[in-house]
């Protein structure tokens, strides 16, 4: 037991989880903004906008996240010299956030689009009938209802994002939890199972409240029809 507890003094485990939470936070904001724009493209009356939206979703959603983050760090930064500022570590962190956001935006887009499908067609017709154009109708009438209908799928995307934030390890973010776990396993072969359980349970503790909150929110905010 003492043997196990020593890893908490040797390694900054809460700090490692905190890095994942920060990765998730910034990537979630990026994915929500980009995903909303993509959803607007996909429901737009202009055919070429719809094509752009669906091409993005089909390309990015079907590309492994590891490949995207590796590309961001090794190709965008490593070979092409594209940086997002800050020191070495901050740049890797930001590039990983970019990769996470770009990837999860495709899922956010589809979640919002499923929310749009919960809004009856008559809502859009009524909005158009009082003279609202596409963007005002989307902003004032369709999206507010769509978001409320998409809370559960958006929550699922957030849960996936929290767990996927560990892929930032391939983006050289050495302080996040899977990187920390990797070096712990290397040096502490005597307690690999407790180490695994520490990180597994840590993520379960972070993720379960997200599921509970989204279920509660989706009931509380449901649009009465």
């Amino acid at each position: 037991m003492e043997n196990y507890l020593s890893i908490f003094t040797e390694y900054n485990i809460p700090g490692a989880f905190w890095v994942n939470i920060q990765l998730t936070f910034w990537a979630a904001i990026g994915a929500l903004v980009l995903g909303t724009v993509l959803a607007l493209l996909r429901i737009s009356p202009v055919a070429s906008f719809r094509a752009i939206g669906s091409s993005y979703v089909n390309l990015v959603r079907n590309t492994p996240l590891t490949i995207i983050i590796l590309f961001a760090v090794l190709a965008l930064y490593g070979q092409l010299g594209f940086t997002l500022g800050g020191d070495f570590q901050a740049n890797f962190f930001r590039l990983s956030v970019l990769g996470l956001a770009v990837y999860h935006a495709a899922f956010v887009c589809e979640a919002i689009r499923s929310g749009v499908n919960t809004v009856p067609l008559g809502q859009a017709e009524a909005a158009r009938a009082i003279g609202l154009g596409f963007m005002p109708a989307a902003r004032l009438i369709i999206l507010p209802q769509a978001f409320r209908g998409a809370i559960v799928p958006l929550g699922n995307t957030l849960i996936a994002l929290i767990k996927n934030s560990t892929v930032a390890a391939v983006g050289s973010v050495a302080t996040e939890s899977s990187s920390v776990m990797k070096s712990m396993i290397e040096f502490r072969a005597d307690i690999v199972i407790p180490i695994f359980l520490t990180f597994a349970i840590g993520f379960v503790i972070i993720v379960i409240p997200v599921g509970l909150v989204t279920t509660w929110l989706s009931k509380k905010l449901a649009v009465a029809r």
Partner: protein, 271 residues
Amino acid sequence: MWRVGRVTSSNVYCMNSDHQAQSATSDAIVQLTGVNKHYGSLHVLNNINLSVTKGEVVVILGPSGSGKSTLCRAINRLETIDEGTIKIDGQTLPSEGKALAKLRADVGMVFQSFNLFAHKSILENVTLGPIRVKGMKKVAAKDLAMQLLDRVGVANQADKLPAQLSGGQQQRVAIARALAMKPKVMLFDEPTSALDPEMINEVLDTMVGLAKEGMTMLVVTHEMGFARKAADRVIFMADGQIVEQATPEEFFTNPQSDRAKDFLGKLITNH
């Protein structure tokens, strides 16, 4: 009574649609010329010529699938058309964009399923158009909305959500929402068809009130009582065509076409 007198003198009830189109051009609020629409092989609007003059109340009757709802929805382009022109107050209906939105703001629409904005309060449903489309100040829009909600008898529900109101109340709010845009013409697409019987009259009374105040109205309905009471002209549609048009008095007592006789015959046996 004044209505019938005015109607007879304007003499627009000729079966000859060309003649009618000419005689009504000058003050036509809605004018459809040679409008055609197909759903695949179904010719849902077949060479429709129709004009509605200022202050006129036109009721469209006809069996299900006769194209009357499609016609109503085509007038503010919720349905596209394949051929022909539709003019609102002399302006040809644009196919898309800001110009279309602007013209739609002048055409009030009341739907069968109410379509109140489900996430907005009753008051917000009515103020949204004036504020967002017409750029009205919030205070002025609220005054206008409360006045209109009072007129349709639901002012005491202003802070509730649509789902908390009865169907009849929701439809009256929908009428207030359309009126708030100060429309040149109001389209009603089967406004009472989704209502429980005891709520139909409260909506029809509101509509009769509007008709008496001189609102230009085009009403698709199955309510023959409303047609008799408020219509200046009845249009009978079948198979995508305007088969017959006449004053309600003439239409109900002396229908000309077999289709109309058949339609009215079925109504009488069912009541």
